[in-house]
């Protein structure tokens, strides 16, 4: 393109010559030469503004088009020998290599999950991962949630357009209990052998909620299930207390609060004395001295029956808690959204 104005023509030549040398091509649009032309435009008498302005704009458009072209053209690369360990004519010291290992990091949620799993392994629990898409039967039906029961309102579930054989939407599970029925059914022969069903179920769960610093639509839960003969409420509370004392490495107080879940009877919210201040009051426990951490209860007889286990003979308990909460409390993390944001600023601190 030819520019009438000499200054603009000169700037165009300079800028076009510079373009090939730029690593980030779009930087050309921020060049001082271009800015100077726009500055000059403002100072011109009104009768000259239109013509000058049109040419400056044309130049900007031309550069912008060149940036796009070059960005694309620069990427149309030839085929390479995909079987080779390195490229042709590259000296060993210039070949791409692994990154320094001190730069590597593991996600804190996964690290914590391993720690938690390890304690439960030692207590005799096996582990199975939860699903990320499931059906109405496993999420609700097998867990004693009747159709249209108001308890379903407490779970803001994501549902898919696609449906299962019964014509119901698939569901993004809102709790890891979605695996409970499978685990009970799979392991019930253990009961007949006089052993217990003892399993923990870590996994990703979903709630259709708006995000804020304390609410995520995606988070991790760990479910636990224990069934045997003569299992009672005291076993439930003792098991969770023992786990928490091991996890925090200190003696704790625990307390329960009656709650309602359709799949346990009775149901509880479970709280522990704040391990960070020993109940003196701190920011982690909001000065309460107690931390409400998990939901639990004795497995509802209908849930056992649905899995083919006789609730007259066997009883059991189940619990679930969030992993994010443990990690946030441990490190003082202020915003739950950090976990799935994939920010290296965050991740490389762990």
């Amino acid at each position: 393109m030819q520019y009438q104005n000499e200054q603009i023509a000169a700037a165009a030549e300079i800028l076009k010559n510079r373009l090939p040398d730029l690593a980030v091509k779009s930087e050309i649009l921020k060049a001082v030469e271009l800015k100077a032309l726009y500055d000059q435009l403002r100072l011109l008498p009104n009768d000259q503004k239109a013509a000058f302005g049109a040419e400056v704009n044309s130049l900007r458009q031309e550069l912008s088009a060149l940036v796009t072209d070059q960005a694309v053209a620069g990427t149309a690369l030839p085929a390479i020998d995909i079987t080779a360990p390195f490229d042709v004519n590259v000296a060993p010291e210039r070949r791409p290599r692994l990154l320094p290992s001190e730069q590597g990091s593991l996600h804190p949620l996964m690290t914590e999950l391993s720690t938690v799993l390890d304690i439960f392994y030692r207590m005799g629990f096996t582990a199975v991962e939860s699903r990320e898409i499931d059906d109405d039967f496993h999420m609700f039906g097998s867990l004693n949630f009747p159709e249209n029961h108001p308890a379903r309102d407490d779970y803001d579930t994501f549902m898919t357009e696609q449906t299962d054989a019964a014509g119901k939407s698939f569901i993004a599970p809102a709790h890891t209990s979605t695996m409970q029925h499978r685990v009970l059914k799979q392991h019930k022969q253990l009961l007949e052998q006089g052993e217990a069903i003892a399993a923990v179920i870590p996994g990703r769960v979903f709630r259709n909620e708006d995000l804020d610093a304390r609410h995520e639509h995606t988070f991790y839960q760990l479910e636990g299930v224990y069934v045997s003969q003569g299992v009672h409420v005291g076993n439930l509370i003792a098991t969770l207390k023992t786990f928490l004392q091991t996890y925090y490495g200190k003696t704790l107080e625990v307390k329960t609060q009656p709650f309602y879940f359709p799949f346990t009877e009775p149901s509880f919210e479970f709280a522990l004395s704040c391990p960070f201040c020993d109940q003196a009051g701190c920011s982690v426990c909001s000065q309460a001295g107690w931390i409400e951490l998990l939901g639990c209860g004795m497995i509802h007889p209908n849930v056992l029956r649905e899995a083919g286990i006789d609730p007259e003979v066997y009883t059991g308990f189940a619990w679930g808690f969030g992993i994010e909460r443990l990690v946030m409390m441990k490190y003082g993390i202020e915003d739950i959204r950090h976990f799935e944001a994939a920010k290296l600023d965050f991740l490389r601190q762990f």
């Binding site: 960005a71 990427t75 085929a79 995909i82 079987t83 080779a84 360990p85 490229d87 042709v88 004519n89 000296a91 070949r95 791409p96 692994l98 990154l99 290992s101 730069q103 590597g104 990091s105 593991l106 096996t126 199975v128 990320e132 898409i133 059906d135 159709e147 249209n148 108001p150 308890a151 407490d154 549902m159 898919t160 299962d164 990703r204 259709n208 909620e209 708006d210 995000l211 639509h217 995606t218 224990y226 003569g230 009672h232 409420v233 005291g234 098991t239 207390k241 307390k255 329960t256 009656p258 709650f259 309602y260 009877e265 009775p266 409400e292 009883t315 994939a342 920010k343 290296l344 490389r348």
Partner: protein
């Protein structure tokens, strides 16, 4: 569910513990307390006063200067010689002799508490001193009215307003969720009963709630009314009575404050009475304007029918919204048209208003699931829905209806104007105090609570809250338990176990760990394998990330994936969550640019996660749920500056990460990289983002495990990726299947190792992999000869002037376990290797 401490106390014959202790008890044995609101502190300064005189303020058209008698209650306030206090008031109803509520200087306006507290003082208004203010219902947070000051019944000046009207109260807000299965606890009566029980006291039911009522005293039949239910399954019980001679007015202040304390706006004496009884018992009531109903009825007088909605009929609700009730919804109707959405919301055209003279008072029970469906379908939520969808007992209908009718007759001068209609579904027995019956043994309870309750202890705990417990004829440990009618949640033996545990206190039960076998718990192999992957990549300097399982349709489009293969979320609140992701890589690519901009010029991100895709017959498991693929994705990238340290394609960096990982995992048997384009096993729709000619399918031990490559132009451009970017995505389960078991250790040779490089000149189209393949085959000849052999790539060289050829240098290393190898042996091997390469690949030794 907000409950009032004072209101609860009215129904108990023992003093409640202090509120802090009560809250703790409720928390431990009834349900989570969300909040405690101290009303006492809100109203503590409000004083009942009498206006002794009223004079207009000069230059004002509405202000009056009032002298008030506060009985000397306020301290530190200016008084005249008679001890009266001067207040300027703009209310039109301020007049001499009126008893009103006064906020003295220093008091905070109750309606401003918790928002923007407004503290009163003494100040000049139009040059006249005014001390504090005379308060309107709105300022006192009792009602909406701000038209004038609140007029009180005459009482001694100086009385505390809070004490006179029960506002020296504490409001305890218990989480509704706790009561999902407790319809009775949506009323003060139910919560009072529970509190008595957990504090170890017998609850005494009010007389009117205890006994079955058939009719009101001296029923008149002055208003013709027909009531029936045509939908007995959806409406198990439908009761109504007409009342005449109503004067609509504000209810007594006492009643208004009951409602305002629990967050309900007082409206008029009739609506307030229905709300009062709903909050007291959990049973919703509805009042219709009789004359409006009669006018909409074809028959003589008023007709009130509960029936299922007719197709297409419309109804305008109290809220002003017009709905076409869902198929199967219950409507309340005349013999002409629907006038209310049963159990959900009344209709606009039969609303009680200022001119109402006669009413129909309705008290019914609706089937809980139907109520929920109607509420969800139409997006209508009301206090009635909250209660009906928990399953209120039909046996309380008569008790509540008659108590409410009697209240209205007593307080509002109404007269009973019809018989009490009672449409009962066939089979529903209403004339009894208990419904279900549960038989269980003491052992059943003790085994599940891990305790040793005596029969007497269980009887006492349960009968305190209305259960009727009897030992069966000859056995004191077999208990027959009759469930009071309001406990519609109790049907199973386990329900009784919960009651006993809760009323006793779960935290008082002995703790004991279960005894278990010594057999070790098996670790989950897949979880262990994933841990090994994490550890290996950590060592390679990569950063583990977690990203959402759901993606925006835009992301699929940016990387060329077809959304038709993805499970679509139909109800996500956020548009970012439209589809289940088809692969992990796009989620990682999406996070590259933001980290570059955050100042990281070189990094590798990886994620382990599940993917889902719609497709052929194998896309569902035997259970009929979508197959979940376990994936590992890694993306390595460097911005233009950092990339300057490297020469060659980014592909080779991803390949280095891959090779290292596969070796660490012992998944390195016969790794083969094949052109992606020829790959039959790869889902084309998940690999749409790879660059042609610069990506490969990854095989281990002849099994397809994933893909590796650079990204195509469109993907790089749309996600603003640096030119130097590449990565891989592998199927974790497929990879685990090819993991070598056993040791890869090779004993150290006792004799010196001989190394020799060999450079082969081959046509450009011959791949490095082909050369290595020939080398490996040659080395295989040594396998049985006690010779440790290995081959290492050294260099690939191409002269610019000879583009049709390249030279590949590899290093052969040989060492024997038995003896020192001779140069001749090694040379022979090299020659053999060169010959084989020549035959297979037209290679020339250089």
């Amino acid at each position: 569910m907000k409950i009032s401490y004072n209101w609860i106390q009215e129904y108990l014959d023992f003093p409640l513990p202090p509120v802090a202790d009560l809250v703790q008890t409720i928390g431990a044995q009834l349900g989570a307390v969300e909040d405690v609101i101290d009303l006492e502190s809100v109203y503590k300064d409000v004083v009942i006063v009498k206006i002794v005189s009223c004079q207009p303020v000069a230059d004002s058209d509405h202000l009056q200067v009032c002298l008030i008698d506060d009985g000397g209650a306020a301290t530190a306030v200016e008084r005249n010689e008679h001890g009266l206090v001067q207040v300027v008031c703009g209310a039109p109803n301020a007049r001499e002799g009126l008893t009103v509520a006064w906020l003295p200087p220093g008091a905070t306006v109750p309606s401003s508490v918790g928002k923007d507290p407004f503290v009163l003082g003494s100040r000049q208004l139009r040059g006249v001193m005014s001390n504090g203010m005379l308060a309107s219902p709105q300022e006192l947070a009792i009602g909406d009215s701000h038209d004038g000051i609140l007029e009180l019944d005459e009482q001694a000046p100086g009385t505390s307003f809070a004490v006179a009207y029960g506002l020296n109260d504490q409001i305890i807000d218990i989480e509704n969720k706790m009561f999902t299965h407790r319809p009775d606890c949506f009323g003060i009566l139910g919560v009072a009963r529970e509190i008595a029980g957990i504090l170890g006291h017998k609850f005494n039911e009010p007389d009117w709630f205890q006994t079955y009522h058939k009719q009101l005293d001296s029923p008149a039949t002055s208003l013709p009314l027909t009531v029936r239910s045509d939908a007995p399954e959806a409406v198990p019980r439908f009761m109504a009575v007409a009342l005449s001679g109503i004067t609509i007015k504000p209810s007594s202040l006492q009643l208004q404050t009951y409602l305002s304390r629990v967050g309900i706006r007082p409206i008029n004496n009739i609506v307030d009475a229905t709300n009062y009884f709903m909050f007291l018992t959990g049973q919703p009531l509805h009042a219709y304007d009789y004359d409006k109903v009669a006018a909409l009825s074809d028959a003589d007088g008023a007709v009130l029918v509960a029936r299922l909605a007719a197709p297409g009929e419309e109804l305008t609700l109290l809220s002003g919204k017009t709905v076409t009730p869902r198929d199967g919804a219950v409507v309340i109707a005349t013999d002409r048209q629907a006038i209310g959405l049963g159990g959900v919301m009344g209709g606009a055209n039969t609303e009680v208003d200022a001119n109402t003279k006669n009413i129909i008072l309705e008290c019914a029970t609706f089937e809980m699931y139907g109520i929920r469906r109607t509420s969800m379908t139409h997006g209508l939520f009301s206090e009635a829905v909250t209660r009906f969808n928990k399953g209120q007992s039909p046996l309380q209908n008569d008790r509540v209806l008659l108590a409410a009718a009697q209240h209205i007759c007593q307080h509002d001068g109404a007269m009973v104007a019809s018989v009490v209609f009672d449409a009962v579904a066939p089979g529903l027995v209403i004339d009894r105090p208990t419904t279900n019956s549960v038989q269980l043994s003491l052992g059943f309870i003790n085994a599940r609570l891990g305790h040793s309750f005596t029969p007497d202890a269980v009887v006492s705990l349960l009968s305190n809250v209305g259960f009727i417990v009897q030992a069966t004829a000859d056995n004191t440990t077999e208990l027959q338990i009759a469930v009071p009618f309001w406990r519609t949640d109790i049907a199973l033996k386990e329900d009784i176990v919960e009651e006993v545990g809760r009323l006793y206190g779960f935290d008082k039960l002995p703790l004991e760990l279960a005894v278990r076998h010594l057999s070790p718990a098996a670790k989950n192999p897949l979880l262990e394998f994933k841990t090994a992957i994490r550890t290996a990549l950590l060592r390679s300097g990569a950063n583990e990330v977690l990203t959402y399982s759901f993606v925006h349709g835009n992301l699929l489009a940016k990387v060329g994936q077809d959304e038709r293969h993805a499970y679509r979320i139909k109800n996500a609140l956020s548009p970012d969550l439209q589809y289940y992701r088809l692969s992990l890589t796009p989620s990682l690519l999406e996070k590259v640019n933001s980290n570059i901009r955050a100042g990281y010029n070189q990094f590798a991100l990886f994620e382990l996660g599940k993917t889902h895709s719609l497709g052929g017959p194998d896309s569902l498991t035997a259970e009929g749920v979508p197959v979940e693929d376990e994936k590992l994705a890694l993306v390595v990238t460097a911005d233009a500056k950092a990339a300057k340290q490297y020469e060659g394609a980014a592909y080779y960096q991803a390949r280095t990460f891959l090779a290292t990982l596969l070796t660490e995992l012992q998944c390195n048997q016969a790794i083969s990289l094949r052109p992606l384009a020829d790959e039959p096993e790869l889902n084309v729709y998940t690999s749409s983002y790879y660059a042609p000619g610069r990506a490969a399918a990854v095989y281990v031990a002849e099994a397809f495990v994933g893909a590796i490559g650079e990204y195509n132009e469109a993907t790089r451009k749309s996600l603003k990726l640096p030119a130097f970017s590449a990565g891989f995505e592998l199927d974790v389960v497929a990879l685990q299947a090819v993991q070598a078991t056993g040791s890869s250790y090779k004993p150290l040779p006792k004799y010196p190792k001989l190394e020799q490089d060999i450079c082969l000149r081959v046509p450009t189209q011959v791949t490095h992999g082909q050369v290595m393949h020939v080398a490996y085959n040659s080395l295989a000849a040594f396998e049985d000869k006690h010779i440790a052999a290995s081959v290492t790539p050294i260099d690939i060289f191409q002269r610019p002037e000879e583009p049709d050829f390249k030279q590949i240098t590899i290093r052969i290393s040989l060492a024997s376990h038995d003896r020192t190898l001779t140069e001749a042996e090694v040379s022979k091997f090299m020659t053999d290797l060169a010959d084989q390469a020549h035959q297979a690949l037209q290679a020339e030794r250089v």
